[in-house]
Symmetry: C2
Subunit: 241 residues, 2 copies
């Protein structure tokens, strides 16, 4: 019923397994994967199911297929740092090899602003829990975060026990953030924020306003993150349609 150990669709499990194998170096960049027939046998699924998985991996630019030749692992120039991949700020910092830290500025319950109301689109919702934090990499401030989530979603103070808000949501509310709708904005000089991040106007900031959703498309977290652009890079592959 509740917990779903491995009742997820087969092709999704195959995707995960293949990604795991690639990460562990079983299949390396530019290398040819075994043929579809072999792979399907190795994984214990039908060729049709394997192909569903490969189709997704190809869409995600992780794999490249050539008719009559084979399936190859793409070199991963962008795929791992692309903006379309959603990570917690904690994960982004740690991925760069730095130590992630957090300084809490304020955390309080407030009424929803007009913008918040528009975002959450929930007439019931009266107030949100608002958290302002500075995230640090090796103790240097690199991101200023304003997070707002429905009141009472998380037990008071549970947040401070976890480095990542994503992890806290999973641990204390059994909520898994699945995706986020993100608006990308440049930031003009705002003294308070630049002071907090200890940078001057010549180091422009990038603002990501993100509304995070669960698997069931319920909005659970609205974040405004101000990134120091000398520390973070955002890239994306844009495809012609």
């Amino acid at each position: 019923m509740s917990i779903r150990p491995d009742s997820r669709h087969l092709y999704l499990q195959v995707i995960d397994q293949l990604k795991r194998d690639m990460k562990e170096g079983k299949y390396k960049e530019r290398e040819k994967l075994p043929s579809e027939y072999e792979l399907s046998r190795m994984l214990g699924v039908s060729r049709a199911t394997l192909r569903e998985a490969l189709r997704v991996l190809e869409e995600e630019n992780i794999v490249f297929r050539k008719h009559g030749v084979g399936t190859f692992v793409n070199p991963k120039p962008i795929f791992s740092s692309g903006i379309e991949q959603l990570n917690s700020v904690t994960a982004m910092i740690e991925d760069s090899g730095k130590k992630a830290g957090t300084q809490y500025i304020t955390s309080e319950v407030t009424k929803l602003s007009a913008e918040d109301k528009e975002q959450f689109a929930d007439d019931e919702l009266q107030s949100v829990f608002k958290i302002e934090r500075v995230r640090t990499a090796d103790n240097k401030p690199v991101v200023f975060c304003i997070d707002k989530l429905p009141e009472n979603l998380l037990p008071q103070n549970s947040i401070k026990r976890e480095e990542s808000l994503f992890k806290a949501l999973e641990k204390y509310a059994n909520i898994h953030v699945s995706y986020a709708l993100t608006r990308i904005e440049p930031v003009s000089y705002q003294q308070r924020i630049f002071n907090i991040l200890n940078c001057d106007p010549s180091q422009p900031l990038l603002l990501l306003k993100q509304l995070h959703y669960t698997e069931k498309d319920e909005p659970v977290l609205y974040s405004s993150n101000y990134f120091r652009s000398d520390f973070f890079r955002f890239e994306v592959v844009r495809k012609r349609m």
Copy 2:
């Protein structure tokens, strides 16, 4: 109703046909598509092939499938304006209902800068054709573009006959831009650019540095586009992995 013969793979043609049908309102938002069996018959392909197409559409967030229920057309909040979709600046302006215009500032042949060399990664390439333009929407300057492409790729002055560089490349060099690797950067105040765009420092700009590629992964165009953020919005769906 069968799909026209075409050299491209069948499932790609199916994708195009379905997108066309959705655009033309044959299948509307939130609406359920015919069942896979029916659809495959309607399109004259096997269910397996249809499923390959649907898998891609699902990956692109255009369609949503639920086991035991059906396949539904996603409402398209982002899919049409998402940053992962590459359009020419001309197309972006026209999509917003404005009239696209161009003011040429300079166009000249220059040696490659260090950055250019790194981007094109072509030892043969000695010099590039550099074009600086201001793009206007209803005669208001909204984007400042610096485009660099290998010398002699286009006939001299052919560019000025086309509004869009993409179109010129197709028309005069039979080159089709397929995708671009894009770096997103905020911009600190630079007097020249702000003067050209006739805006003040409180209207921050967004800079997209884009290396455009052909289908064969050959770099053909390196662009730096400074967008007025009060006119353009960039959004992206970020997915958790």
